[in-house]
């Protein structure tokens, strides 16, 4: 079978080429994933912290319920809920753009997974860290801000990296509510041109490039944040 890449130079009927269109679609994918990442990290870190609070059983329950709720419904169904059902139930939400709704859906879905990682990271720290902070007279806020979170977030950074790459892949379900991102592009252009292989190859390549980009960015951040001589070392001379 001969691949025909000329297809990308053809006009799609509205004055732009399929190449320009796919670049637009790529931008959509990146903006959906990027915005959802911000939502997911903020909400996920917050919920992860709430799950480890020592003396607030109700907040712990709330955050546990949050994680269970968003983990046990398929992402596609959640996207439908955000896009169709919530605006029906709360008419005020009809003003919100479809893009924002998908970002919330994807972001909250991912936040449950990030909360789980953050909780694990905080609980992986030796108990002495929390006790030491309390002995120093830190408030709960200060304990988390200055003692627990700085180390916990560094510990969970590698799993957060793979969650970020998952988030990018998951952004593909936005096709179902007609966000003009890469998967939507793949389905539509496949239909229009019948050059499915070329179109899918291009889209798959762009997903792979984006995933690599996220990986590079997260690894760079990991190196920047590394506490000198803390992780990865621990040879002789580490004692007193």
């Amino acid at each position: 079978m001969a691949l025909d890449w000329q297809i990308f130079l053809e006009d799609d009927g509205s004055g732009r080429t399929y190449l320009e269109w796919i670049l637009d679609a790529w931008r959509w994918t990146l903006s959906v994933a990027g915005s959802a990442w911000v939502v997911a990290m903020c909400v996920g870190a917050l919920m992860g912290v709430l799950r480890t609070l020592p003396h607030s059983p109700w907040l712990v329950r709330l955050s546990n319920a949050w994680v269970e709720l968003f983990r046990n419904v398929p992402l596609l169904v959640q996207i439908f809920l955000w896009y169709f059902v919530l605006p029906r139930m709360f008419p005020a939400m009809q003003q919100v753009s479809g893009f924002a709704l998908v970002v919330m859906g994807l972001g909250f879905f991912t936040s449950a997974r990030i909360a789980e990682q953050v909780r694990a990271g905080i609980q992986a720290l030796p108990r002495g860290q929390r006790d030491a902070a309390m002995a120093m007279g830190f408030s709960t806020w200060q304990t988390y801000r200055y003692v627990l979170l700085p180390m916990a977030l560094r510990i969970v950074w590698p799993p957060l990296t793979s969650e970020s790459m998952n988030l990018l892949k998951n952004s593909s379900v936005a096709f179902a509510v007609s966000v003009a991102e890469l998967t939507m592009y793949a389905m539509q252009v496949q239909e229009e041109t019948s050059r499915g292989v070329e179109v899918y190859l291009a889209v798959t390549a762009l997903y792979a490039v984006s995933a690599l980009g996220i990986y590079a960015l997260m690894s760079w951040a990991e190196r920047r944040m590394r506490v000198p001589g803390f992780m990865a070392t621990g040879g002789p001379g580490g004692g007193h």
Partner: protein, 222 residues
């Protein structure tokens, strides 16, 4: 919340539209779990064989599968299978093949971790007893690996059950599609989405609770 009306839902609707979809989703989950574990174990053994010609294809396959969005994998298979075998197959059959192939990549990573969690001494002990590679794997290593990894395998299966809803992309008739169809026919799409969410939640939440109990029971105390 006032403008949702769930009064159209009755057993008749569930039986007519939802039941078939539900059965398909369950079948798809079970078949691709079993198939995925078999193929995935094979991939893991290839990767751990220490033989480059065997390991390289396995590594490449797993990495490629894991770096593509599942929706794109579903679309790819739906496009390529008819092209390769020269005739079209339905969305349902295509979904079975896709999910076995996709799950194999994930299960192979789980099985690899499971096999590597068994101490080397076990392998040597098997060899010292004169077992062949196949006997050693089948009788000594894999049973322990599966046992160690059972909670992870089951959790992954619950994730898989949720992921089967993505066959929406090729129009296969699964649990979600059952609700969507019913919603369309009764003119109540929003209510149908909400119901679908509740049903998925109850199933997945119930299964995860079971997995947690199982995990507590089978944990090997060392």
């Amino acid at each position: 919340m006032g403008n949702l009306d769930l009064s159209f839902v009755d057993l008749e609707l569930l039986r007519k539209f939802v039941l078939n979809g539900f059965l398909f989703s369950v079948q798809l989950t079970v078949v691709s779990t079993v198939g995925g574990i078999l193929v995935g174990t094979l991939l893991a053994l290839m990767r751990l064989s220490g033989n480059r010609i065997l390991a390289w294809p396995a590594v490449t396959y797993v990495n490629v599968m894991r770096s593509i969005p599942l929706v794109m994998v579903i679309l790819w298979f739906f496009l390529l299978i008819p092209f390769l075998i020269g005739r079209s197959i339905g969305a349902e059959l295509s979904a079975f093949i896709t999910f076995i192939a996709f799950q194999a990549a994930f299960f192979s990573e789980i099985m690899r971790a499971g096999i590597q969690s068994i101490s080397r001494g076990q392998v040597f002990a098997g060899q010292a007893l004169g077992m062949t590679y196949a006997q050693n794997m089948r009788l000594v290593i894999l049973p322990q690996a599966v046992r160690n990894m059972l909670p992870v395998l089951l959790t992954q299966t619950i994730v898989l059950f949720q992921d089967t809803s993505l066959v929406y992309a090729i129009g296969a008739y699964d649990l979600l599609k059952g609700f969507v169809t019913a919603g369309k026919i009764y003119g109540r799409p929003e209510e149908a989405y909400l119901l679908a969410a509740v049903v998925y939640f109850l199933i997945c939440f119930g299964l995860s609770a079971l997995v947690r109990r199982l995990q507590a029971r089978i944990a090997i105390i060392r």
